[in-house]
């Protein structure tokens, strides 16, 4: 036996021959924006509870004390100063308390408390696990967004979805492992779904951007404005014929070989991706479930429905983002009413649809913003940024349903019981997918990097 057999280069052709998955594997890795080579499919470190994550991102930062963390004391002391003393932190004045205008009530058998802003979601209260004791760093959107999405702000780091893609690979033969629907362009922009130093195929594929209605979203260069399909096929045949001649002159060249394969894939993507992106073939009942064709839910409903379609096709990490509309420095009451009205029905529809299709068991749905909002008033009727305490909730794959976790002080200013830092949330999400956040590392520039850097604890209490 030749002991140097590991020196032999494996050509893509060998890979195809050897791979049980055949060409599909090439499709998946190349579609994912990487090389046209098969990705080594990594095994989870632990028994996975979920196979994929759908993250519903509320850009701007919803107010926890108006949605999921009721604080009667705010209403009792509305208009009076909040002192550090009230929350056990010095005696500096922190501002003037603003009560919440919304009614809160327990829902379902579990009695999970929500405000009246989420009447449709309330019907699924027994599915959700509310975490009231979140905290993070970064009191400006940019820093907080980067920390939410990548764990870091001052250095460019891979996004959570990119780590998931790297850790688990794609389940799909024709889609990348990480997709982001209507991502924000600002506050870190593409960095929030970037692969950083991970191989390029782990970058999130962006569909549209936050400020564009999803129905109008285009993936750049996915169609040709000047040629119809048959003309383009004829042209591509010429290109490929010249390429094959180049390859035969070169005899062996993985680069040219990969390029030829990538053209075929590109051509196929032009028809397959728009097909998946169309929601026209969905039944009227399904469209209604998500609030499609009705306002103000049409846009977010379409985004959520797309998320389900991608989940069905095996995408590992799907993010859906609102526009930059949850930043209520003014009129937090009206703002919260308007924004929750856009997302409540679509989110409830998504949970119901996932459940009906048997997908909720292995799909973890996460809802949240980059930070919370102050219990104190700003500009008379608004609330400021508040990374010290906020709420997220999860549902489905592996999380304890009907649980309310963590406690903030009487004013919702900071966690006093079971605090969960952003790093802890990241560690917990990876854990649910069967990935150990301390073992999921990538060697770059001479050291091993991980999503949670040197931080993060899995919050086992949140998991079933």
């Amino acid at each position: 036996m030749n002991c140097h057999h590991f020196n032999k280069t494996t050509t893509r052709r060998d890979m195809l021959r050897a791979s049980a998955c055949g060409f599909g594997h090439v499709i998946l890795s190349a579609l994912a924006g990487g090389s046209a080579q098969a990705a080594p499919n990594l095994k989870p470190h632990l028994a996975p509870r979920a196979k994929r994550i759908i993250f519903l991102f509320m850009w701007g930062g919803p107010s926890q004390v108006d949605t999921f963390d009721p604080k009667p004391q705010l209403n009792n002391h509305d208009g009076t100063p909040l002192s550090g003393k009230d929350i056990g932190r010095g005696d500096k004045s922190l501002g003037t308390i603003l009560g919440s205008p919304f009614k809160f009530a327990p829902h379902g058998q579990s009695g999970v408390v929500m405000s009246e802003l989420f009447p449709s979601l309330a019907k699924h209260a027994d599915k959700v696990c509310v975490v009231r004791s979140m905290h993070t760093n970064g009191s400006a959107h940019g820093e907080a967004l980067l920390r939410l999405h990548t764990g870091q702000a001052n250095l460019v780091r891979p996004s959570v979805g990119a780590w998931v893609s790297y850790g688990l690979g794609s389940e799909s033969d024709n889609l990348p492992a990480f997709l982001t629907i209507s991502p924000p362009r600002g506050h870190g922009g593409v960095q929030n779904y970037g692969n950083a130093f991970l191989p390029a195929r782990h970058q999130g594929m962006a569909i549209g951007s936050a400020e564009i209605p999803i129905a109008k979203a285009v993936i750049p260069n996915l169609s040709n404005a000047r040629l119809d399909a048959s003309l383009q096929r004829g042209q591509l045949d010429l290109i490929q014929s010249l390429n094959r001649k180049h390859l035969s002159d070169a005899k062996v060249d993985q680069g040219i070989e990969g390029l030829i394969a990538s053209y075929e894939l590109a051509y196929r993507m032009q028809s397959s991706v728009p097909q998946i992106m169309s929601v026209d073939d969905e039944s009227v009942a399904t469209r209604e479930l998500y609030g499609i064709d009705a306002e103000p839910t049409d846009n977010f409903g379409r985004q959520c429905l797309l998320a389900r379609k991608f989940a069905e096709r095996g995408v590992r990490y799907i993010q859906v983002s609102t526009d930059y509309t949850w930043d209520h420095h003014n009129k937090v009451k009206q703002g919260s009413i308007d924004e929750s009205a856009k997302v409540d029905r679509p989110i409830a529809g998504l949970l119901e649809d996932l459940e009906q299709r048997g997908l909720l068991d292995d799909t973890l749905v996460l809802w949240g913003g980059e930070f919370g909002r102050t219990p104190m008033v700003e500009n008379g009727d608004g609330r400021n940024h508040h990374p010290q305490a906020f709420t997220v909730w999860m549902a489905g794959g592996g999380v304890k349903p009907g649980l309310t976790y963590g406690v903030t002080d009487d004013f919702g200013y900071r966690p006093v019981e079971n605090p969960v830092h952003m790093h802890d949330l990241h560690a917990t999400l990876l854990h649910a997918l069967g990935l150990d956040h301390e073992q999921l590392t990538y060697r770059h520039a001479g050291r091993d990097f991980r999503l949670t850097d040197v931080y993060g604890n899995v919050i086992h209490d949140l998991l079933s």
Binding site: A36, G189, V190, Q203, N221, L242, Y263, R443
Partner: protein, 714 residues
């Protein structure tokens, strides 16, 4: 978006990946084993010990050696080393490249453009023995040289026209630094001066205001890094900015991951935390930030300084306008109210016309903001420079022991001699290229290896940004030392080094495949043939525009001046960076987190961090770009127009191939092209297209621009 991958993992097969994993595990094993051995002897080796670390090859003095191998084959000393390596492995070089392929290769490598058809003809007809040398010298003298080789440096300088990270503010003036780099490369500014100017240009003596400004602009290197701008704590920001600078300096000049020693002694390299904070002291004694008024508030932004003799005044006037603006607006509001009440006759004081004049005057001031004066991103020393304390676990508010400002001790014992009241940047700038008592030998190795990497396709050390223990060993250590030594001896002349390498026979090898050699050295580490290389996105676009006869070769200033202060604004952002300039690609906007699509899909360097080797990927998005992007189709249509001057179809094909491949078509290729045009014309005619033949030709041009042959250098 592309990644930071510095090693070409994406192009290696899984076997290579597994091999890497194995090698890494082996490294770990050896480290543990050595540790165990030393423990048994009662001592624990500390990988961060700078004195013990001097044993590592990259920190050793440069060794001068010669190699004699096959005089009949070698053209230069480089070839002797390469041949010696091949002979040892019982390999032989392939044949020399065809003249056309060689000319195309050297022209793209040196100036990033294809040779003109005339240049090809001239070269083929030139029978003088030094014909190739003449071509090389012309290319080195061309102003286009700096546009290509300057861009190589800009990758390392993480050059960008915007901040990136949390708040993507526009760097309106960054282009001045970019153009300084291009100019300095064209003038062949000695590399040691090139380094010094960028580290301490604002501190150097000068004879004229122009010279002062040039040097200051070079210092922009320190300012253009990405920064978290809306963080809460200025002390934290100071440490973060210094960290980014240390990371960049470490990678760009030294090929070391110095930044890892911020929180703890380096786990693999001989860099203790004390050395990190010795450097940090120099950089925190420097500032690249200032308070400025922008977007309606006072913000801490990158530092700008006016240029020219009266630069300071014009900058101050400009800033004053924006600072005063809120007050002026308030005054106008009050003046208007007063005017209204005067009109209602219940006011006192001025008459209505007088008050009206006051309102008008205020309006006029508000409505006529001064033009932005010429200014640039320039660092300066802080008022009271001093040493920095070690930060425990890298946390800015946990101070440990203070360390004297200085350098990496692994290079030498020599401390920094910094005069009172100075940051020490000037000394650092010199230390980086000081071969005797500084890091010069490492900088020379790293730099020579990069030149080799760009010209040959892979570095002698393949981990071009990592010369530490975790990096790869050089494939030809003596050759690397020789090139580094000659770089220093030539007075750090980069052009001389480039010239030396391209005139070697090694550079002139063909890229042909050889089964036997491939079986022994599939990675071509020993360079038995030329690496076949893909063009970078700049060259792909520039070459398309050349073929279309649409490239404007004029020196270009800012291509971002039309943008607002936020380069990627939140919300509807109609005012987005443009790419429709006819200039060379090096001048296109480099907006962090919003690169031009072409750059994004074809592996441009991520401008958030120093990049010595761009990732190499093959992806469907590249195919989609070439098949569908308007810019490509526009170029193809312009090529069709150009071809219209010729009447004969075969001649048209000849021209088309000449423009794109610098070579004539083979017979079967010509026939295939003609068949395609005939068939497509017929098809379009049936469709009722008004100009079927014209369109068919444009589609054929488009096809040629999309081929692998166009994108690759043999």
């Amino acid at each position: 978006m592309n990644s930071y991958l510095n090693c070409p993992q994406d192009t290696d097969g899984p076997m290579v990946f597994q091999y890497r994993v194995m090698r890494f595990r082996l490294t770990i094993f050896v480290v543990i084993w050595v540790a165990a051995l030393s423990l048994a002897q009662g001592e624990v080796p500390d990988p961060s010990d700078p004195i013990a670390g001097r044993d590592h090859w990259a920190f050793q003095p440069l060794k001068a050696s010669v190699s004699k191998s096959r005089a009949d084959w070698s053209r230069t000393a480089i070839d002797d080393f390469i041949m010696a390596g091949l002979l040892k492995a019982e390999l032989g070089p392939v044949s020399d490249a065809e003249p056309r392929a060689l000319l195309r290769r050297v022209t793209f490598q040196l100036i990033g453009l294809p040779p003109t058809p005339q240049q090809v003809r001239d070269y083929l007809e030139d029978t003088r023995p030094d014909a190739f040398e003449r071509v090389v010298d012309q290319l080195l003298d061309s102003p286009r040289f700096g546009e290509r080789w300057g861009r190589h440096w800009l990758d390392l300088a993480r050059y960008a026209d915007s901040n990136g990270l949390d708040e993507n503010f526009l760097f309106r003036e960054a282009w001045r630094y970019r153009n300084w780099v291009i100019d300095a490369v064209n003038k062949n500014l000695p590399f040691d001066q090139f380094v010094l100017n960028q580290i301490a240009g604002d501190l150097l003596p000068y004879d004229t205001i122009e010279e002062r400004d040039r040097q200051r602009i070079a210092g922009g290197f320190l300012v253009i890094g990405p920064k978290v701008l809306l963080g809460n704590n200025t002390n934290n920001q100071r440490m973060e900015v210094a960290d980014e600078q240390i990371d960049t300096i470490g990678r760009a000049f030294l090929g070391l991951t110095v930044g890892c020693a911020r929180c703890h002694d380096h786990k693999f390299e001989p860099i203790p935390t004390a050395d990190y904070y010795a450097l940090a002291g120099i950089l925190t004694s420097t500032t690249v930030m200032e308070q400025r008024h922008m977007l309606g508030q006072q913000r801490v932004m990158e530092r700008l300084v006016g240029l020219g003799a009266k630069g300071d005044d014009s900058d101050a006037t400009y800033e004053q306008y924006w600072r005063d603006l809120p007050n002026k607006k308030r005054a106008l509001k009050e003046a208007k109210l007063a005017l209204d009440s005067l009109k209602k006759k219940d006011g006192e004081g001025l008459s209505v016309p007088e008050q009206q004049a006051k309102v008008d005057a205020l309006k006029k001031v508000i409505d006529s903001p001064p033009a932005i004066p010429p200014r640039a991103m320039i660092p300066c020393d802080v008022d009271s420079p001093g040493d920095e304390a070690i930060r425990i676990a890298g946390q800015f508010d946990r101070k440990g022991e203070k360390v004297s400002r200085g350098y990496l001790k692994v290079m030498s014992d020599e401390g920094a001699k910094i005069a009172e009241g100075q940051s020490g940047r000037r000394e650092l700038g010199r230390w980086l290229t000081d071969v005797e008592t500084g890091a010069g030998r490492l900088t020379a190795r790293v730099t020579a290896n990069r030149v080799w990497h760009h010209l040959i396709g892979r570095g002698l050390v393949r981990t071009v940004d990592n010369f530490g223990r975790t990096g790869e060993m050089p494939s030809h250590p003596e050759l690397l030392d020789r090139l580094a030594g000659e770089l220093v001896e030539s007075g750090w002349s980069m052009k001389a080094l480039v010239r030396k390498i391209v005139l070697s026979r090694t550079f002139a090898l063909s890229s042909e495949h050889d089964e036997a050699s491939h079986a022994i050295d599939p990675d071509n580490k020993l360079i038995w043939r030329a690496h076949r290389r893909r063009l970078d996105p700049e060259s792909i676009r520039d070459a398309m525009l050349v073929a279309a006869n649409q490239l404007n070769l004029e020196w270009t200033d800012s291509t971002v001046s039309y943008l607002g202060d936020q380069a990627t604004a939140v919300g509807q952002n109609k005012n987005r960076r443009r790419t429709d300039f006819p200039c060379r690609s090096v001048y296109l906007p480099v907006i962090r987190n919003d690169l031009p699509e072409l750059f994004e899909v074809f592996d441009f360097a991520d401008p958030h961090a120093a990049t010595g080797a761009r990732p190499k990927t093959t992806a469907a998005t590249q195919g989609l770009f070439l098949l569908n992007d308007e810019m490509v189709m526009d170029a193809a249509e312009a090529m069709e127009q150009r071809l219209g001057a010729h009447s004969d179809d075969s001649e048209k094909i000849e021209r088309l191939f000449e423009w794109t491949f610098s070579a004539p078509p083979a017979d079967d290729e010509r026939d295939e092209m003609l068949d395609y045009i005939r068939m497509t014309t017929n098809r379009l005619k049936t469709d009722g297209d008004p100009e079927p033949n014209k369109r068919a030709w444009a589609m054929a041009c488009h096809a040629v621009l999309s081929t692998s042959r166009f994108q690759y250098l043999e």
